[in-house]
C-alpha cells in the first residue's frame, strides 16, 4: 500500500512551461531565418583571357571547328560559328543581329534594362528583377534554340559554346541563355512559344561509370558554356 501511495505523489506532471516558452520563441526565430529557395549551380569555364590553367583540349586538326559564339545585345542575339557571323534568320532585318527581338512583344529591351539599373540604384531589387524579366521576354529564345539545334545536328560532338554579352547586359540574361542552350528538348524545332517552354528535355541513356548502370540523362546541346570577356 505504502508503495502505491508514493507512486501517486510522483505522478505529478513535469513542468513543461519553460520548455514550451523556449520552443515557442525558437520556432518563429528559425522560421524567419530559413530561406525556402532551392539553390543549384551551373558549371562554366573561365573566360579565355584568364591566365589560370586551362582545361581545354586542342581541337581536332582535320575537322573545321564549330567555334560557336553567342553574343547577347539589346537588339538580339549574334551567333558566330565556323569563323563567321551567321546571317539574320528569316523575318529579321538584313545586316542586324542573327536573331532579332520578337516583333509581337514590342518591348524596348535597352530601356527595360536601364530601368532595372535605376531601380537598383534606388534599392528596389524586386522592381529591378521584374524589369529584367520583362526585358528578357522580348528575346526570341525559341528561335535561338531552333538555330542551336540545327548547328548541333551538324556538329553532334561539340558541346562548347562561347557566351558573350554587351557590357551592360544584366547577368540574368546570360544565365537564361545558358539555360536555353544547355540541353536538347524533345523536338528539334518549335513553332510556338508555349510549346517551347512547356517542352521537356530529350533523355538519353548513359552508362554511369560508378556502378555500370544505364541511367537517363538529358541530352546535351551545348552544355559547356565558356564565358568570354565583353569587349
Amino acid at each position: 500500500m505504502s508503495r502505491s501511495k508514493r507512486m501517486e505523489e510522483e505522478e505529478q506532471e513535469l513542468d513543461l512551461a519553460p520548455i514550451m516558452n523556449m520552443v515557442v520563441i525558437l520556432i518563429p526565430l528559425l522560421l524567419l531565418s530559413v530561406v525556402f529557395v532551392q539553390v543549384a549551380v551551373i558549371n562554366i569555364t573561365a573566360p579565355k583571357l584568364s591566365m589560370g590553367p586551362q582545361s581545354d583540349t586542342p581541337p581536332d586538326e582535320d575537322k573545321k571547328p564549330l567555334n560557336l559564339t553567342v553574343t547577347i545585345a539589346p537588339n538580339g542575339f549574334r551567333i558566330a560559328a565556323e569563323g563567321g557571323n551567321l546571317k539574320a534568320v528569316a523575318g529579321c532585318p538584313e545586316g542586324g543581329p542573327t536573331i532579332c527581338l520578337r516583333s509581337d512583344k514590342n518591348v524596348d529591351v535597352a530601356a527595360k534594362f536601364g530601368d532595372a539599373r535605376k531601380y537598383v540604384a534606388g534599392g528596389d531589387l524586386k522592381a529591378a528583377g521584374d524589369s529584367i524579366e520583362e526585358g528578357l521576354t522580348a528575346f526570341n529564345w525559341r528561335v535561338l534554340y531552333n538555330e542551336l539545334a540545327k548547328l548541333k545536328a551538324r556538329f553532334p560532338e561539340e558541346t562548347v559554346m562561347n557566351v558573350s554579352a554587351d557590357p551592360d547586359i544584366p547577368f540574368g540574361a546570360v544565365v537564361r541563355l545558358m539555360d536555353v542552350a544547355r540541353y536538347q528538348l524533345d523536338k528539334e524545332a518549335y513553332d510556338a512559344d508555349k510549346a517551347f517552354w512547356d517542352a521537356s528535355y530529350k533523355k538519353v541513356k548513359v552508362k554511369d561509370e560508378s556502378d555500370g548502370q544505364f541511367k537517363e540523362k538529358p541530352a546535351d546541346l551545348f552544355s559547356d558554356p565558356v564565358l568570354a570577356i565583353a569587349q
Binding site: V23, V39, A40, T45, G52, G129
Partner: protein, 188 residues
C-alpha cells in the same frame, strides 16, 4: 499486465476524472499540452535541419541570384558574392560596388582593366586558406570558386570578377542560381 500495473491504471483513471472536474469548477487545472509539444518539437527539428543545409546565401537585401533550371547541387567551396553594394569573398568584404561597377582606382591599370586588385588579394588569401585546410584533411585541392551574382549586375563586372579569380589560380567556376521550373519562364 502485472498486478501492480493494473493497480496504477486503476489509480490513474479516477484521478483524471477528478482533475477534469476540478477544472470545470475552478479552471486551475493544467491543460493537456502533450500533443502540442509533439507538433512543436517536430517543427523545431525540421526548421533546424533546413537551417543547417543551406551552404550558399543567394538572397539578401542587395542580392538576388538569377533563376535557372539548372540541376547540379552546390558544394562547400570558396564563394564570391557580387551584390549591388559590394564584392564579398567567403562573406567578407573585398571591394565596394557602385552602380554596377567597382571604382577605377581599385583596378590595376585604369577603367578598362579587368583586374580588381583588392579582390585579387582577398582571393589569394582564401585560396591559401582552403589549400591548407584541404592539406590537413588529406583531400585534394580543387581550384573551384562559386560565383553568386545579383541578376541585375552588368555582365562586364562579372567578367572582371572571373578574370581576377583566374589570376588567383581559380580556374573552375560555378554560378549559383535559384532553381525554377522550366515552364515558368514562358509564362508571360
Amino acid at each position: 499486465m502485472s498486478e501492480q500495473q493494473a493497480d496504477i491504471w486503476n489509480e490513474v483513471k479516477p484521478n483524471r476524472g477528478k482533475r477534469r472536474k476540478r477544472r470545470d469548477e475552478g479552471g486551475s487545472g493544467s491543460m493537456n499540452i502533450n500533443s502540442l509539444m509533439d507538433i512543436m518539437v517536430i517543427i523545431l527539428v525540421f526548421l533546424l535541419k533546413s537551417y543547417g543545409d543551406e551552404p550558399l546565401k543567394v538572397e539578401a537585401e542587395d542580392l538576388k541570384a538569377p533563376s535557372s533550371m539548372a540541376e547540379l547541387t552546390p558544394k562547400d567551396m570558396t564563394t564570391v558574392s557580387i551584390t549591388q553594394k559590394a564584392i564579398l569573398v567567403d562573406d567578407k568584404m573585398a571591394a565596394p560596388v557602385k552602380n554596377g561597377a567597382v571604382d577605377k582606382s581599385m583596378k590595376k591599370g585604369g577603367e578598362n582593366a579587368l583586374m580588381i586588385t583588392p579582390l585579387f588579394e582577398k582571393l589569394n588569401e582564401a585560396v591559401k586558406r582552403k589549400k591548407r585546410e584541404k592539406e590537413l584533411m588529406r583531400q585534394d585541392y580543387e581550384p573551384v570558386v562559386t560565383i553568386i551574382a545579383d541578376q541585375a549586375i552588368p555582365y562586364r563586372l562579372v567578367t572582371e570578377v572571373m578574370f581576377t579569380a583566374g589570376q588567383a589560380e581559380l580556374s573552375q567556376f560555378k554560378i549559383a542560381v535559384i532553381k525554377k521550373a522550366r515552364p515558368s519562364f514562358g509564362a508571360n
